[in-house]
């Protein structure tokens, strides 16, 4: 094959979806295969459709759920929902109305399949290799774990996709992140992605689509790969993806929305070609040695401010950095394990899947959450919740003293009433440690489920390898 013909995985998926090529004057028209929608970023888009008397072009390629502003407190009936405030209740009502009026299938209250949009897409088998997937949510990059081109969009663009099933896009650049070698015991996918963001920075991926490659990535199961791709946006990237392989096909086989019988075999044949060609050129490449990684925690107010759990917090080198350390009340030169913990949150689209809950339960089994620590475990979907309960994980959590909740985004962004109080330190398996993200004045430390669980037990930010 001539060098010039070699394509990256991203270029292959992109090329398959160009309806009208880009020119110097106009962006490409890019076809979207799957549009995920939720209650927070869509009402204004539906309002526009109504205003212009437009239909949804492909309701069959649109999948809706409610996750962001929904309560996670246990309920005996959906009538009793303790929705926080009239605003959230109105949003939920409008979502139901919009889906009904425009003929979109909604995994709403009462649906066994409801959950965080980035958890249920894969669960349903809707997220597949080679698809273009968008959602009015920046963590849409999660679905890139399947070898899809998946990225977040704004509400105006949600309107564009609803009306035309297309987007106007300039082709991003490509960045290869190669994670070679094997991960040491006790180091997880979350630690890998935190280390990557720490290395390239929160704007290191701006304008790029990242392809994660290398032995350590190949060795991950699908849930670990989703954790990695999920946080591509935290490195500023447009999207993140991983070439599909047997692990991918095995995960998808038999799920509700995948092709059946002969069509499945044909799909797998097509998917096998979805890899970067050997001579394909990336605009940039970064290499990371997996064998040197350890459990990672953030110490500042963005996900790039990250250190090994036993390493000292770096000295401030400028005003923005100092502002972050002041906000977090952490001491440079001391490891994060010096800090006492008030709240532990296990959940979110980054780490709210079954393997994450197992990882946390593995640490908590036979142990107690330390006095004075509040621990919340929020499954990523109702299906994750059911499976966890079948395995008895919920009992491990509640016996340890943690709260076991209904699924939703919950304390990841604290808009449903699940918040961290001002000044409290939270060890969270979510993806953003921005100022106030989990509540006004909340101080967030991002970590893996194992590190979060160990921190709950020891009452301070802790290395989970001490408890295994």
């Amino acid at each position: 094959m001539a060098v010039s013909d070699a394509k990256t995985l991203f270029e292959k998926v992109w090329a398959e979806h160009v309806v009208v090529p880009e020119t110097a004057d106009t962006p490409a028209v890019l076809y979207i295969d799957l549009h995920l929608i939720h209650e927070v970023t869509t009402p204004q888009a539906f309002a526009l459709l109504r205003e212009r008397r437009l239909a949804v072009r492909r309701p069959d390629l649109t999948l809706a759920t409610m996750d962001h502003s929904t309560p996670t407190t246990p309920v005996s009936s959906f009538r009793d929902l303790a929705v926080v405030g009239e605003g959230a209740a109105n949003q939920i009502r409008q979502m139901e109305e919009n889906c009904r009026e425009f003929g979109i299938e909604l995994y709403g209250f009462g649906s066994e399949q409801r959950g965080i949009v980035h958890v249920i897409g894969p669960e349903l088998g809707a997220s597949q290799p080679g698809k273009t997937i968008v959602c009015g949510d920046s963590h849409t990059s999660t679905h890139g774990a399947f070898g899809a081109l998946a990225f977040g969009i704004g509400t105006t663009e949600v309107g564009h996709v609803l009306a035309t099933q297309c987007l106007l896009q300039r082709k991003p650049k490509s960045l290869a992140v190669d994670v070679g070698g094997r991960l040491p015991a006790g180091v997880t996918a979350k630690d890998v992605i935190l280390a990557i963001i720490g290395r390239i920075g929160v704007d290191g991926g701006t304008g790029h689509v990242i392809e994660y490659r290398g032995e350590a990535i190949r060795a991950l199961d699908m849930e670990g790969r989703m954790t990695i791709c999920n946080m591509s946006i935290e490195a500023g990237a447009r999207a993140g993806l991983i070439g599909p392989d047997e692990t991918t096909f095995e995960y998808l086989a038999g799920r509700p929305r995948v092709p059946r019988a002969d069509a499945w075999d044909a799909a797998v044949r097509r998917w096998r070609a979805l890899c970067s060609d050997e001579d394909a050129r990336f605009d940039r490449t970064v290499s990371i040695d997996a064998t040197t990684l350890q459990p990672m925690v953030t110490f500042g107010t963005n996900p790039g401010m990250v250190v090994g759990v036993n390493d000292p917090v770096p000295e401030a080198h400028d005003a923005s950095f100092r502002k972050a350390l002041d906000y977090m009340k952490v001491t440079p030169g001391k490891p994060m394990s010096e800090n006492r913990v008030d709240v532990v949150f296990v959940g979110s689209c980054t780490n709210g899947r079954l393997s994450d809950l197992k990882e946390a339960a593995g640490i908590l089994a036979g142990r107690k959450v330390a006095d004075g620590v509040r621990m919340l475990v929020v499954p990523g979907s109702q299906q994750v919740k059911r499976r966890a309960e079948e395995l008895g994980l919920h009992r491990i959590f509640t016996e340890a003293g943690a709260e076991w909740r209904e699924s939703g985004c919950s304390m990841c962004l604290g808009m449903n009433g699940d918040t961290v109080a001002s000044g409290q330190l939270s060890v969270s398996t979510s993806n953003r440690n921005f100022e106030g993200r989990q509540g006004i004045g909340a101080r967030t430390v991002l970590a893996s489920p194992a590190t979060a669980a160990a921190s709950a037990v020891l009452g301070r930010v802790a290395d989970p390898r001490k408890l295994t």
């Binding site: 309806v19 009208v20 110097a24 004057d25 106009t26 962006p27 028209v29 076809y31 799957l34 927070v40 970023t41 009402p43 204004q44 309002a47 526009l48 072009r57 390629l61 502003s69 605003g87 959230a88 109105n90 949003q91 409008q94 009015g136 949510d137 920046s138 977040g152 969009i153 704004g154 509400t155 105006t156 663009e157 309107g159 564009h160 009306a163 035309t164 099933q165 297309c166 106007l168 300039r170 929160v202 704007d203 701006t206 946006i233 500023g236 044909a266 799909a267 963005n302 005003a319 923005s320 502002k323 962004l413 808009m415 953003r432 921005f434 100022e435 106030g436 993200r437 006004i440 004045g441």
Partner: protein, 194 residues
């Protein structure tokens, strides 16, 4: 969308890196179903203390800066969540352009679709703007140029199509809908169906 061809305003400076969209508008203000009135929540937790009092040291709280339509911010402005509420809040407050050395991709896209102009400048120009808050700038959107006091002209990059839409006040859905035939043909002809 209102067209924007030129802009003349003093600057208000927020010299912090990586201002994320959670800081531009915190999540608890996202339970709205319209785009109106979000200016009141702009930079809420930076502007107000926990008792609702204005923080004196926050530049937007200085009455002298109330009419500034150009915000100078640090690198990587608008990172994080894809919420379009961020540009809506800035516009509703009265900001029409933001200057930084770099913007997060989704924020930049969202801004351009709403008539908010993201202006990328080099580090030297940026450092000068940060060191000289409140100067009056002139932005020629048609020419993609910024004129500093004293007459120095700085070119800034902007996608040609985005500039066309911005200066004409065209929203891109109309353009996209004109591609209906091409879209239908694409759906017909593709070798596999999603």
């Amino acid at each position: 969308m209102d067209s924007l061809t030129a802009l003349k305003s003093r600057t208000v400076v927020l010299p912090i890196r990586d201002i994320d969209t959670d800081q531009i508008i915190p999540a608890r203000f996202l339970t709205t179903t319209t785009r109106d009135g979000l200016g009141a929540a702009l930079f809420h937790d930076l502007r107000y203390d926990q008792d609702g009092g204005q923080r004196r040291d926050f530049p937007l709280n200085d009455p002298a800066n109330r009419d500034c339509a150009i915000l100078v911010a640090g690198n990587n402005f608008g990172c994080g969540s894809s919420r379009e509420h961020a540009p809506w809040a800035l516009l509703d407050y009265g900001i029409r352009a933001v200057i930084a050395t770099e913007f997060a991709d989704i924020f930049r896209n969202n801004s351009l679709k709403n008539g908010l102009l993201p202006i990328i400048v080099d580090a030297v120009t940026h450092a000068w703007l940060v060191a000289n808050p409140g100067v009056e700038l002139h932005v020629d959107v048609l020419a993609s140029q910024l004129t500093l006091p004293g007459g120095r002209v700085v070119d800034y990059p902007i996608d040609a199509f985005a500039r066309y839409c911005l200066t004409q006040g065209i929203d891109q859905l109309g353009y996209l809908r004109q591609q209906a035939d091409a879209i239908a043909k694409f759906e017909e002809a593709r070798p596999w169906k999603p």
